[in-house]
């Protein structure tokens, strides 16, 4: 190892994927029956990959820690999924989607991967509609679209605010069909605790049955990790409670390089933190920014009066409000990309203009949209001389059509009616662009170990544009991995079933058992959450929305100390021989305590600002991110060498042959 071979095909960009598919080795359908594949994770990436691999004829085993594959975290995605269909005729194309994605990612993603993503994006929609995914439709019966942050065309397909749910149910249904046919065996409430290598190749996993507590061995010819992102490292995030890095981290420890760990997306429109007891943050989909306008009071004293409850936002007139995104970025306004919108919100709140008790919130206001839609409705329904209240009612109905479930979600949490008073929002950790390093075939640096969806580092660069994670998960699962994996498996048609009674499996199982025992033997008094919250605080304060060398160095030290304390003092009640949620959490937090340190190390190494990584030392006089293409146009890929502090940096230089690297501006 040591050299990173991205295996990008040669030739013109637009032909690469077709050429690659034509040239890679295939497995004869009759031989696929003799090949087993393990897919860990049943979200959009894993679910779609498992269904397609089974459809192609491989024997597939799937794993997830939830009680049903349908509950994977992809279910929570709200806004939509991109595809370059140009159904709206607004000038969209594969090239434009490719270009927006590369630019949105601050030129830190691999050109050929992103082009392929844009290319297969159109198939995703066709596939999902054929499966019965109920996307939003226009009155003429055709598919509807909306736009998302960072782009100027409407290419986002959606199903109200529940796009992830509908897409996941589609992939889950496709899985169910294969389960019924006997081609997929689904293991639910099972957690992968280690990866097993035989002769340097990924040949299986060790999993724990979370109900019986039993440690199991599962072998296969290849292992696909589609285990999602690691944003729960921050404790407070928009992720589901169980999201973790365990599988990816175990693979990393066995030789898979971990790429760009510090590239984390902070999403601008989340419900703000309300108190210390809070366990998670809730996203308000970015699609709301199509109709909502973001503002804070212009005057400090108004902001203060609002915080003290003496003034209501609705009492401030237009001229007393600072629509700071529209002011700073006239071309994109409220639709600037997430990193830009998040930093701008932080900047206003840091300057004292925050609008909730803690001073960490800005307004997302729908009143203008409500009135606009209301007027339109009144006109088109032939109503004359209507008063403002009626217009407002009509407008609220339209807004409810579009975002009803999000408004309901908000009201349940905050206890305020967002139709009547502007929503309060603040940035929160939402997505991790980093992950396992993969080549063009989605293979990690361990032969036979693949990574798909949010678990790989692939296509988003330093910042992810909205509606592109679902696209990437499904592209990987339905259209990329099932073909590229054949290239590797074609050597395995005569291998036969992989035995589980080998020395390698013995050793991996022993490792896992030792670790569980060690976790259970902690003699202290602190719960797992105690450590998780502490880690989260360090991460948010020192590796969060903005970073500097001094604090990153402190974070590295503090995390290492916290890790030591954890292993000496964590207290896990109960036994490992049965269901034990504290033990499950402990295993996940133990990994976060290692990843966190590598995260900070990666952020410290990258002396530039780009995308989700904002280093205070590197900014323009106007406070915009200052990228350094000369020295940092690379993927950082870390090799495990023992302690996270010893990790070795490898660089994959990013070459842009088809795009001119420019300063990213949304002005």
């Amino acid at each position: 190892m040591g050299v990173l071979d991205s295996r990008e095909p040669q030739g013109p960009l637009a032909d690469k994927w077709t050429k690659h598919k034509n040239e890679i080795d295939l497995v004869n359908p009759a031989n696929k029956r003799n090949i087993d594949i393990i897919v860990v994770g049943t979200g959009l990436a894993g679910g779609s990959a498992a269904a397609t691999l089974a459809e192609l004829g491989y024997n597939v085993k799937t794993f997830c820690y939830q009680d049903s594959p349908r509950r994977a975290h992809s279910i929570a995605a709200q806004g939509g999924v991109n595809a370059a269909k140009n159904y709206q005729g607004d000038g969209d194309s594969v090239y434009r989607l490719f270009y927006d994605t590369i630019k949105g990612g601050d030129y830190r993603s691999r050109e050929s991967n992103v082009y392929r993503l844009a290319e297969v994006s159109t198939n995703i929609i066709d596939q999902c509609v054929a499966q019965g995914v109920p996307f939003a439709r226009e009155y003429g019966g055709l598919l509807d679209n909306r736009s998302f942050g960072g782009v100027l065309v409407s290419r986002t397909f959606y199903a109200k605010g529940q796009t992830g749910q509908q897409l996941l149910l589609g992939a889950y249904a496709a899985m169910n069909r294969q389960i019924q046919r006997g081609k997929i065996k689904s293991y639910t409430r099972h957690e992968m605790l280690d990866l097993v290598l035989v002769d340097g190749k990924a040949r299986g996993i060790i999993a724990r049955d979370l109900v019986s507590g039993e440690i199991e061995r599962h072998s296969a010819h290849a292992v696909v990790l589609a285990t999602g992102g690691y944003g729960n490292l921050f404790f407070l995030s928009t992720y589901c409670m169980g999201a973790n890095v365990m599988a990816a981290w175990k693979a990393h420890k066995k030789g898979a390089f971990f790429a760009n760990p510090c590239f984390t997306q902070i999403h601008p429109t989340c419900i703000p933190v309300s108190g210390d007891h809070q366990s998670k943050l809730t996203l308000m989909s970015e699609s709301l920014r199509n109709d909502g306008r973001i503002w804070v009071p212009k005057r400090l004293e108004d902001a203060q009066a609002i915080r003290e409850g003496k003034l209501k936002p609705t009492q401030l007139g237009e001229e007393e409000r600072d629509y700071y995104l529209e002011r700073r970025y006239p071309a994109f306004g409220n639709l600037v990309p997430r990193d830009v919108a998040s930093r701008a919100a932080k900047e206003r709140c840091d300057a004292g203009f925050g609008v909730n008790k803690t001073g960490e919130a800005v307004y997302l206001d729908f009143s203008a949209a409500i009135m606009r839609y209301g007027k339109e409705k009144a006109l088109t329904s032939g109503m004359k001389d209507v008063d403002d209240d009626t217009i407002r009612d009509l407008g609220e109905k339209i807004v409810e059509e579009k975002y009803g479930n999000l408004f309901q979600m908000y009201e349940k949490i905050v206890d305020q009616n967002p139709y009547k008073t502007p929503m309060m929002i603040y940035p929160a950790v939402h997505y991790t662009m980093g992950g396992l390093w993969v080549d063009y075939n989605l293979q990690t640096t361990i032969p036979g170990c693949y990574a798909a969806g949010e678990a790989n580092f692939s296509d988003h660069g330093a910042n992810r544009l909205g509606a592109s994670a679902l696209m990437q998960g499904l592209a990987d699962g339905y259209f990329v991995l099932p073909y590229t994996i054949g290239d590797y498996l074609s050597d395995d048609i005569r291998t036969g079933a992989i035995p589980i009674d080998s020395l390698e499996f013995d050793a991996a199982e022993k490792n896992v058992k030792d670790r569980l025992e060690k976790l259970m033997s902690g003699t202290g008094i602190h719960s797992v959450d105690y450590y998780h919250k502490k880690l989260g605080k360090i991460m948010w304060n020192k590796c969060g929305m903005s970073r500097n060398a001094k604090e990153l160095k402190e974070a590295i030290k503090e995390i290492a100390e916290l890790r030591k304390d954890f292993w000496e003092n964590v207290k896990i009640p109960g036994s490992p021989n049965g269901k034990n949620q504290e033990l499950e959490k402990a295993g996940r937090v133990a990994d976060f305590l290692e990843l966190g340190e590598l995260f900070a190390k990666d952020a410290l190494e990258r002396n530039e600002s780009c995308g989700g990584h904002f280093r205070e030392e590197y900014q323009t006089p106007e406070g915009e991110a200052l990228r350094d293409d000369e020295n940092f146009k690379f993927v950082s890929a870390w090799e495990y060498m023992g302690e996270p502090s010893d990790a070795k940096l490898h660089k994959e230089d990013l070459v842009y042959e088809n795009i001119k690297v420019k300063t990213r501006s949304y002005k």
């Binding site: 066709d126 499966q131 598919l143 496709a174």
Partner: protein, 248 residues
């Protein structure tokens, strides 16, 4: 707030369970119900006791994992929400709150408040899909226009999160609302019509095999469903089933 909790504790499927009393102080009104349980668990752990296990994941009302029977009602007192969306402002200082797992023969208790809902997965495996090849090249999506009204109805049925509250609410532990939502989603779309008859027969057969009770049109399921899945779906499923059996 100070609360008096009565919580069902059960070690595993094969042991007997019982109600246990807990007193919890310092609960704030803007906590979610699950955050309240987190605090209880922190207290239990610090005393060296085993925390109360309950199922949850997204904590925003969409994954369908959380499943608590609170004061006799699935997902608690408020309507149209899941437990993770329930906030303590719905309770008062000094309240007694009874917390139990879903009760149904087809949902055996795994531990404490966690039940096994894999029967729902098996119902869907029996036919809750459209048999389209995932590795093929399907027709262009807009070549299948769908009337907005139908698309919306199908979407509404598809919003079922598979939580099982309908079963827990039903005195017969019937899974009709859930199964009918799944049947409806596909029955309303042109793509799903082709194998509609087979689908409804297989899914209903599996539902019966799993040991769910019969529907006696009480409607408790609709009242407790956090996603507002309507009884219309049951009527539609019955029609689908009838016409399938006549054809069959």
């Amino acid at each position: 707030m100070k609360l008096y909790l009565k919580i069902w504790r059960q070690k595993n499927t094969s042991t007997k369970g019982q109600m246990v009393d807990y007193t919890l102080d310092g609960v704030e009104s803007d906590m979610s119900f699950l955050e309240m349980l987190d605090i209880l668990n922190e207290e239990l752990i610090s005393k060296g006791e085993e925390p109360v296990e309950f199922d949850h994941d997204c904590r925003e009302g969409i994954c369908g994992t959380c499943s608590l029977q609170i004061n006799g009602r699935p997902h608690g007192p408020d309507s149209m929400i899941t437990v993770c969306q329930l906030h303590m402002r719905s309770f008062n200082d000094g309240d007694e709150i009874v917390i139990e797992p879903w009760r149904a023969k087809a949902f055996p208790v795994v531990k404490d408040l966690i039940v096994d809902r894999t029967a729902f997965d098996r119902i869907q495996q029996a036919g809750g899909y459209i048999s389209v090849n995932t590795s093929g090249r399907p027709v262009d999506a807009n070549a299948i226009p769908i009337e907005k009204d139908m698309a919306d109805k199908s979407f509404n049925a598809a919003t079922c999160i598979g939580c099982g509250a309908c079963v827990a609410a039903c005195k017969n532990a019937s899974a009709m609302l859930f199964t009918s939502a799944k049947v409806s989603q596909f029955a309303l779309l042109p793509q799903g019509r082709v194998e509609a008859a087979e689908r409804v027969e297989n899914m209903v057969r599996q539902m019966d095999l799993e040991g769910f009770g019969n529907c006696t049109n009480t409607g408790a399921c609709e009242v407790e469903c956090p996603k507002g899945i309507s009884l219309e779906n049951i009527a539609r499923m019955n029609r689908e089933y009838l016409s399938a059996s006549i054809k069959g």
